[in-house]
Symmetry: C2
Subunit: 371 residues, 2 copies
């Protein structure tokens, strides 16, 4: 019974998770692509197992701790997809010596040399991808920059391939724009791979990934691997982009009504930003969902209620239009469920998933944090 | 050595912590007030011990888990300062039976009755304060509302007093405005206490609290207790309000430079929103600090650098004016420290404090989360 759970707590609808995972597999397999799901959204072995065809498989990680944790749970093939620095090499080298194949990414000659030198000192070779900046969003070598070949030279035999992440796709305002971004993402890495090969470098891996671009990419020609993560859960940002529908969102935060402010048409809950995160990813989308969209205890959106403000352990729920609410429908002590703007951020606020089957909690899955 | 810590990680300057704690004690003791520090900012026994005059003492908690954790570490006198609901009574009752004195808050007849009934079923009496809404910010009984006496009647002998939190003080734009807010906060509870006493209710405790209002309150007449929390660490929001100066901020996030985007004058670090939180509390202040103010490894702000954007594990550092940076000063692998907008939110992203003495890590203090 949901009523037996403490609040706030994080719920995960297993059927929706499995449906989302199946959808992504159906999307990428016909193209012969390796699906290397990003575990940073869920940070859970059980969730990741459902994203793969097997109990273990290739994954993408965002922290060294994720690499270590998944190694301890039998995973061996990992890409650490945040720019590598020398002082993180010893922990990766340790995993390598124990049988993992952790590849890394760099985007500068300085970074490449530091990686190669530190790996040599640690007595291992750590493969590296060159990160390509396909969208001006954050890191990576700009396509056609002479830096590409310089980094490849510095990596030498450690060079594994090229990768990019079109994070800017989260800011697109139409499906067409996402498809165009996907083309740009693909071309940036495919052209970079060709430039490397023309210069005599092997470049076996060509990797792209973001849930929106992989969903709407018109072509994967030249790509060998995709890295997606948020699709396992989906969220309001993905729904706002047209990548999923609200009903696909697999996680929600269970909250208790703790009070009312009748004059202001407010319901106060115990799910503040500590439970929801401060992510306001829908604030620039067509539909601003506040700090989250409010559902009844069965996960169905009710009366156009959103979380209009959040303090640490208080959420303020109101109608989107500020109009009156029949507060008798939401007595003190009753339960609501909040759909998250950004699954990665909301899930990160919790230490476990209460897994639901037909809205009944049936299991608890651990989730971890830290670096 | 800082260089031996993994990044990102959370640093705590012990001397600043102790100075901030001493300041607050000096502020409240001359007024004969009970200082009941809020442990929600730090969620650490060691930090809380430094806020008190003794190893244990009265504290304010924001979750039942905080009450349980601090109970396990010897604390007995606790106020759970989030509106109480019946299904949380069993855990509070359990602590009560084991010797704790956990008081609670309610702001409705419905909530009061549910508390009294559930406590009776659990075989304990749980004291309750009536929450007063002094600022229209979130919960509480509006001053002079007939609801006050109705809630008091419903509580009966469980009534302990009145409390309020002027959270709106965080949005003030001058010290004078904070002082005025403090007066409003004080008057709201003192008048409510008088109304209760006039009607024959004992109302021994009159409690206020927010770091800004307690810092600048012109009077505490009629108040018996203050609840403040963020002062232990302070943060950029407090500095923007004039409550502290930048040099008082005791926590920071240690980050590694993981790359550069020379064309855009960007430094990329491994401290994204997972390490910093998504709090943008300074966005409406006179000085917008982005996702945090950037310091060198010794904690001194450098070149007006701020974190202009943050992804999950990437921070983008740039000059506030977007101008060029001498990137050679910040090589890949070098360390920076980021001061937080909001200490409560940033600290919540971490599982421990690396405690510094003269910028050298000397201890690790556990911090916990969950509900």
């Amino acid at each position: 019974m949901l009523q037996h759970l403490d609040t706030p707590s994080l719920l995960l609808d297993r059927a929706k998770l499995e449906r989302n995972c199946e959808s992504m597999r159906r999307r990428v397999h016909p193209h012969g692509l390796v699906l290397r799901p990003h575990v940073k959204t869920a940070k859970s072995v059980e969730v990741t197992q459902r994203a793969l065809d097997a109990p273990t498989g290739p994954i993408t990680v965002s922290t060294v701790r994720e690499a270590e944790y998944f190694f301890d749970h039998g995973f061996r093939d990992m890409l650490y997809a945040v720019g590598m620095v020398a002082h993180k090499v010893p922990r990766i080298a340790e995993l390598t010596k124990r049988g993992a194949r952790v590849s890394t990414i760099v985007d500068s000659v300085e970074g490449a040399k530091a990686l190669v030198d530190a790996s040599a000192r640690a007595g291992v070779r750590i493969p590296a991808m060159i990160e390509i900046d396909s969208d001006g969003h954050r890191a990576g070598v700009v396509p056609k920059s002479p830096r590409l070949l310089e980094v490849a030279e510095a990596l030498g035999p450690s060079l594994l391939g090229v990768m990019t992440h079109a994070g800017e796709s989260y800011n697109c305002t139409s499906v067409d724009a996402i498809a165009a971004m996907a083309q740009r993402e693909r071309e940036a890495v495919v052209q970079s791979a060709e430039a490397l090969r023309t210069s005599g470098h092997a470049c076996p891996v060509v990797s792209v990934g973001s849930t929106p671009t992989v969903t709407f990419a018109p072509s994967f020609k030249g790509v060998t691997e995709v890295r997606t993560g948020v699709y396992m859960f989906h969220d309001l940002v993905m729904a706002g982009l047209g990548v999923c529908v609200i009903d696909d969102i697999a996680i929600s935060v269970l909250a208790s009504v703790i009070g009312h402010q009748p004059e202001r048409h407010w319901i106060i809950t115990d799910a503040g930003w500590m439970a929801l995160s401060r992510d306001r990813g829908t604030s620039k989308q067509k539909v601003d969902q506040g700090f989250g969209l409010v559902c009844n205890a069965y996960g169905v959106p009710v009366e156009d209620l959103v979380v209009v403000d959040a303090n640490q352990e208080h959420g303020i729920v109101a109608r989107r239009d500020g109009g009156p609410i029949d507060l008798a429908r939401y007595p003190v002590g009753s339960l609501l469920r909040i759909l998250p703007n950004h699954a990665c951020a909301t899930a990160a606020q919790h230490g476990e998933y209460h897994v639901l089957q037909d809205n009944v909690p049936v299991e608890t899955w651990e989730r971890f944090g830290g670096w």
